[in-house]
């Protein structure tokens, strides 16, 4: 059992935290992510309007510009879209959707990919060839194409897009974990566990898994940003999530139609927020990657 006290003191004393405090990019990334997480969880309760509750919308408010431009309405700081929706509220709801999808997809990929990679690397033989065959076939298709095929086959929906993206994202974990598992399983602590008589399941998940988690965490952090972008791409193309539950990508797509008629704010603000979110994820991911990879130090 790892008790919490020693874990916390270990983190406080660790070299990682020391490096973190000296790396402004990592701190910036972490702060950005914290703000986005906060927005995703509490944001919808703080904004003035639920932009997707039709009863709260008024078509007379449509296409109001941001507050610093002429003809604006003080209720709508960043303006409104064609339905008279407040852009701030829409973005907050969009952030919630994007972040939810990003985390769900990453967690599913992480669990599925890590498990398959562990089994593949530990068992070897035919099972390994089969799983790695799947991985290689999948890597030879662009991941977005796979997600599009799945979505076209099964239709739109939040859960469907999560599964579609997870379906193409697990391979990275499987490959990495397989490699690490193969080098770990020949170490003597695994043999010692076998001599004690632990069943394979225990050896895999209790003894080997903690030793292959480091690259998994790094991949996961970097993947969240990629997933959010992929989802935005799919939504922009109109095959992503339904129009009633927009994400940041869908907001960009909706504003794109009127972008060149001077109504730039409908598209640009969600786009900027999306960019900030992905940059934050990448900054933190880069830091973790450098931190866990001794060869880069």
């Amino acid at each position: 059992m790892m008790d919490n006290k020693s874990l916390i003191s270990k983190i406080i004393k660790s070299e990682g935290l020391y490096n973190f405090k000296r790396n402004p990019f990592a701190i910036a990334g972490a702060l950005i992510i914290l703000v986005f997480l906060f927005t995703a969880i509490f944001g919808p309760h703080m904004v003035s309007q639920n932009p997707y509750d039709l009863a709260q919308l008024d078509l007379n408010d449509s296409y109001k510009p941001p507050i610093w431009q002429e003809g604006s309405d003080p209720r709508f700081i960043l303006g409104t879209d064609d339905q008279g929706r407040d852009m701030v509220s829409a973005i907050v709801y969009g952030v919630r959707m994007s972040v939810t999808i990003g985390f769900c997809v990453t967690i599913i990929c992480m669990i599925a990919g890590t498990t398959l990679g562990l089994i593949s690397g530990y068992k070897g033989g035919r099972l390994d060839s089969f799983i790695m065959g799947l991985v290689n076939v999948q890597l030879s298709f662009p991941s977005l194409l796979i997600a599009m095929l799945v979505l076209i086959a099964f239709g739109r929906g939040v859960w469907k897009i999560i599964l579609a993206l997870a379906f193409s994202g697990w391979v990275t974990y499987a490959r990495t974990v397989r490699g690490t598992t193969m080098s770990e399983k020949s170490k003597e602590y695994v043999e010692a566990a076998k001599v004690i008589g632990f069943p394979e399941r225990v050896i895999l998940f209790k003894h080997i898994l903690p030793n292959v988690m480091t690259p998994v965490i790094v991949i996961a952090t970097l993947q969240i940003g990629t997933v959010i972008l992929s989802e935005a791409t799919l939504s922009f193309l109109g095959i992503g999530i339904p129009i009633t539950e927009p994400s940041l990508g869908l907001l960009v797509a909706q504003g794109y139609i009127v972008l060149f008629s001077g109504l730039w704010w409908v598209s640009v603000f969600p786009g900027l927020v999306l960019m900030l979110l992905v940059v934050g994820m990448n900054l933190l991911g880069d830091f973790l990657r450098d931190e866990f990879n001794p060869r880069l130090k």
């Binding site: 059992m1 790892m2 008790d3 020693s6 170490k187 003597e188 602590y189 043999e191 010692a192 566990a193 076998k194 001599v195 004690i196 008589g197 632990f198 069943p199 225990v202 003894h207 903690p210 030793n211």
Partner: protein, 326 residues
């Protein structure tokens, strides 16, 4: 040989490993990593297994403890042949036979605390009623090997090599085994630490009535601890017997060479025998003859054609050689 006090009896155990195929249509060839290995170990005995690196000592040990599947032969533990047991049937025997590994830097899981490492086996084999009792037991064994109570929440990387080897020994002791295989337990340690660990093992044998199979390439180490000694060369046991007889009156030409290479303080060593040539790689499965013949100064036609078997040349002293003088 079968007696009341016989704990482990290995008979004609063979372990083969496949070689890489040279062509698609070639039959896969096998090398004999261990060939016709027979040994018996009594209760409370320390059996030393000696040989140069690559001679199959570790393979023999790992096959006996069933980390590898034996291809032929029997492994009789306390009257039961366990050589064909599946993992489930083997489980009760897992707690009777334990192993201490060579490299203390990779034999402890870096992500588990020392307390966890020793508690897990106790919990798994249900040797304690609950977790706190299991931890209490773990502390007892850690205390026996000399790890302080204040250190048990640390991770393995916070310990020195000798300390880790002590933790490794505590883990093996935790399931209350009768038999421990120690695979070069001191070869990765400083000479000063080596003696400490060896003495610890000797003390533990007395206290817990343990039998050991002690593997080493260092004759001095084996001499210090063993009751009986076996000498291995290229996968074959060439000589074994009580340690005093082996060291004072070696009969197999290979043993003679090996012992003549050890300098002894204050004593003019026996005439030095130097071998010509390199150690060849392990023979493939269709090999017949004595594995040592090509380097042996007194080999005969028979040595090249017929595989020698272990025979008792004087009481409890066995050699596998056609041309040894008595």
């Amino acid at each position: 040989m079968a007696g009341e006090d016989l704990l482990l009896d290995v008979r004609n155990m063979t372990k083969k490993f496949p070689l890489a195929r040279t062509g698609i249509f070639e039959k896969i060839k096998y090398v004999n990593a261990v060939k016709n290995f027979s040994v018996s170990i009594k209760r409370k005995e320390i059996f030393g297994l000696v040989g140069e690196s690559g001679c199959g000592k570790s393979t023999a040990a790992r096959t006996i403890i069933r980390l590898y599947e034996p291809d032929e032969g029997k492994i009789i533990y306390d009257g039961t042949d366990i050589s064909r047991f599946a993992e489930k049937e083997l489980r009760p025997y897992r707690k009777k036979m334990q192993m201490v590994f060579q490299n203390p830097y990779s034999s402890l899981n870096p992500r588990h605390t020392v307390k966890e490492i020793v508690t897990q086996p106790i919990m798994f084999h249900k040797l304690a009623k609950n977790r706190s009792e299991a931890e209490e037991k773990a502390m007892y064994y850690l205390d026996k090997v000399g790890v302080l109570r204040s250190q048990v929440d640390r991770y393995p990387h916070q310990f020195s090599g000798g300390q880790r080897q002590r933790i490794s020994i505590a883990r093996a002791l935790a399931v209350a085994p009768d038999f421990i295989i120690a695979d070069e337990p001191v070869s990765a340690l400083d000479v000063s630490i080596q003696a400490q660990i060896l003495n610890l093992l000797l003390d533990l044998r007395e206290e817990f009535s343990l039998s050991f199979m002690f593997i080493a390439h260092d004759l001095a180490v084996v001499r210090h601890v063993s009751d009986r000694v076996g000498i291995m060369y290229l996968g074959c046991l060439v000589e074994y017997g009580p340690y005093s007889r082996i060291f004072e009156n070696p009969l197999h030409p290979y043993t003679k060479t090996l012992l003549s290479a050890v300098p002894v303080l204050g004593k003019r060593s026996m005439e030095s025998v130097v071998l010509s040539g390199e150690v060849p790689s392990a023979p493939t499965e269709d090999f017949t003859g004595c594995v040592f013949a090509h380097r042996c100064i007194r080999h005969t036609e028979q040595c090249l054609k017929q595989t020698p078997v272990l025979k008792e040349i004087e009481s409890e002293h066995f050699i596998a050689c056609w041309s040894a003088d008595k």
